[in-house]
């Protein structure tokens, strides 16, 4: 098994290639060739597919890409070459279980299989969303207090003590530590002090991450993000995040956000890159688990048809061929206080539940505004658990999603649907949904039940 020193060595000595040529000649051209070779096509009306042959083809294409391309170091403009044996070793060593949190609140993340008897786990929070300091604590509590939420995540503090946070500025250290102080405080407030976290979200560069590796902030039983860059790229700053966890023991969550409609072209190519990304991230991100977060090139959201297809394709490819721990970010286009947010959340929850993924959410309003609350996370968990209890087939899941799409797809052709900020949908003292928001949630739940979902 390679270690980080081998990765750094190869980033220094691998073949030189300009970044533009990596993007075009390696990523784009290889993707095109593999999509053609394996005859990969997506069907906008079959977003959740039980086509085992298609899943196998996507897996093989992603594997071939990982072996053929390896990774690219943006820091040194060199290719980090990886052999087939090393990719295989990475697959063999993918953790099948990771314990997060401690004491009675500990949860075991596990590699899900298709039709797994065990229910998915849920991270509650709006990952990476900019949240003003004055509502940060109330916002994270709104998720932590939800009984179905197993693990906590959060947004990003964009100002501390009235001062703007800038990436790489010393204030990033303060903001990351402040975020974690609020998180720990919130967990204590709801009586779940041992709950595991995916946090240090305010650490946009490696600076905050380094500053938070301390038992008072991010414990060794918590996880942090180790991002990959689009596509199949790393740099020394992000490798530093992974290396920072080595002796300390934090859990590494790889974050490759494949752009659907980007260098990989359409959904089929994007799924291939996503599969390859995890195989590379096993090694370069020292990943303990993987975040699934394809981004639509124009709409951002994970609830478009093509992104839902990529989520299903990627999750299935691993669940069928090499189960690993995958946690899917749910990023709806719509924001809190809108029914569309709840429909988008339900569609994402169904797709992920049947695709072998755990769930994290929701990054409402594209994660661009503090228009998010614990209520949509409650629905996310309820819908996913209902899908699991019903032993929903791929075909049934697809039928549900096709019924949900017409209820929200209009948000992609209008000027967004951002909804309202947290403090306008929740009572921030009692930390409970305002009546109109609670009523919307109840109405959507009724609709979902009428559609046949056993909530």
């Amino acid at each position: 098994m390679l270690n980080y020193l081998d990765i750094l060595d190869r980033a220094q000595t691998g073949p030189y290639i300009s970044e533009e040529n990596w993007d075009l000649e390696k990523i784009a051209m290889t993707t095109r060739r593999l999509v053609k070779k394996y005859k990969l096509e997506w069907n906008p009306n079959e977003l959740v597919t039980d086509d085992a042959a298609l899943s196998e083809a996507i897996w093989k294409a992603g594997y071939e890409m990982a072996v053929e391309l390896g990774s690219y170091s943006r820091s040194t403009e060199r290719i980090i070459q990886l052999s087939q044996d090393e990719i295989d070793s990475g697959i063999r060593n993918m953790p099948q279980e990771v314990v997060m949190g401690e004491g009675k609140d500990a949860r075991t993340l596990y590699a899900r299989h298709l039709n797994d008897e065990r229910a998915p786990l849920f991270f509650g929070g709006s990952p990476g969303t900019p949240i003003p300091e004055k509502i940060f604590l109330a916002n994270v509590i709104s998720y932590m207090q939800e009984p179905l939420i197993d693990l906590a995540t959060c947004g990003t503090l964009v100002e501390v003590d009235g001062r703007e946070v800038r990436t790489g500025n010393p204030i990033e250290i303060v903001s990351t530590r402040r975020e974690l102080q609020y998180m720990r405080q919130g967990l204590k407030r709801v009586g779940r002090a041992g709950m595991g976290m995916l946090a240090a979200q305010s650490s946009v560069s490696e600076l905050g991450d380094l500053a938070a590796a301390h038992p008072d902030y991010l414990r060794s039983c918590d996880s942090h993000l180790v991002p990959m860059l689009n596509e199949l790229k790393m740099d020394h700053r992000n490798i530093s995040r992974a290396v920072n966890s080595l002796e300390y023991g934090m859990v590494n969550a790889s974050l490759p956000c494949v752009i659907v409609g980007g260098l990989g072209g359409g959904p089929a190519g994007s799924a291939v890159i996503n599969v390859a990304s995890y195989l590379i991230a096993n090694i370069t991100c020292l990943a303990d688990y993987h975040i699934l977060h394809p981004i639509h090139v124009r709409h951002v959201a994970t609830s478009t048809r093509d992104v839902l297809w990529v989520i299903n394709a990627t999750g299935q490819a691993f669940a069928r061929h090499a189960p690993t721990i995958i946690v899917a970010d749910i990023y709806p286009k719509s924001g809190a206080g809108t029914k569309e947010l709840l429909y988008e959340t339900a569609a994402n929850a169904i797709v992920n539940a049947v695709s072998g993924n755990h769930l994290e959410g929701c990054g409402a309003a594209d994660g661009n505004a503090p228009n998010c609350s614990g209520l949509e996370a409650r629905l996310m968990a309820e819908v996913a658990l209902a899908s699991h209890r019903m032993k929903m087939s791929m075909k049934e899941a697809n039928d549900f999603v096709l019924q949900l799409l017409p209820k929200y797809e209009h948000v992609f052709t209008q000027d967004g649907n951002p909804g309202k900020p947290f403090n306008e949908v929740y009572d921030t003292v009692k930390i409970e949904p305002l009546d109109f928001w609670q009523k919307m949630y109840e109405e959507v739940k009724t609709e979902l039940k009428e559609m046949g979902l056993k909530l």
Partner: protein, 218 residues
């Protein structure tokens, strides 16, 4: 060969993103005395517009945009000297020089790459400085190449303040009025752009091109 056949060959090469074919077709058209202005407008720019439309319809993706950008660059290198010689007083065919960059501390480049490709395809001469670029370097480059437009990108909310810093530095240097500063990125809003004193923002790459054209009067 008739002019229309030459122009069609150029357009096809641009739409297909074939740089060598585009250069060969441009050379052949010039050798057959096709007006360089016709090559530019009906061969290159119309084809580039078509590529932009296909991208908006999700028929084309980022690689196609980048390949078209390469093909356009190659063909422009051939046609531009002839064009300038024939229309010596009219250098407006290059709509303007643009410096684009993802600002200091931010390493996300997909959005910036798309806008750069679309601007190139629309006839702007784009100098793409890459990612994590210090604001001083961006301004120095704009001064060096006599750019008209500075396009700044940031995905990270905590990198967006560097856009404001750049505008303030332009002010401090007394050269703010020389530049049209456009800002963009997933978290950038119209109100943020106004707040920092930028000249505009756009929701997507196609709108960014329209905005740049409108601001520069092209």
């Amino acid at each position: 060969m008739p002019e229309s056949t030459h122009l069609q060959a150029i357009a096809t090469a641009i739409i297909d993103g074939e740089a060598e074919d585009a250069m060969e077709a441009t050379k052949a058209a010039l050798e057959d005395n096709v007006d360089p202005m016709e090559i530019l407008n009906r061969g290159l720019m119309d084809a580039a517009d078509e590529v932009g439309k296909r991208f908006e319809r999700s028929e084309y993706f980022l690689p196609e945009l980048m390949l078209t950008g390469r093909a356009l660059k190659g063909a422009m290198e051939i046609v531009k000297p002839v064009l300038l010689e024939k229309y010596a007083d009219n250098d407006s065919q290059v709509k303007g020089k643009v410096v684009s960059a993802t600002v200091h501390t931010d390493i996300h480049d997909i959005g910036k790459n798309i806008v750069s490709s679309m601007l190139t395809a629309a006839g702007f001469e784009v100098t793409d400085m890459g990612v994590d670029v210090p604001i001083k370097s961006i301004i120095d480059k704009a001064e060096e190449i006599e750019a008209r437009v500075i396009c700044l990108s940031a995905l990270l909310t905590t990198s967006m303040p560097f856009m404001k810093d750049l505008i303030q530095l332009l002010d401090a240097r007394g050269i703010r009025q020389k530049y049209i500063v456009l800002v963009g990125g997933a978290s950038v809003t119209e109100s943020w752009a106004m707040h920092i004193g930028a000249d505009g923002t756009a929701r997507n790459a196609a709108d960014a091109v329209k905005l740049a054209r409108a601001k520069i009067g092209a």
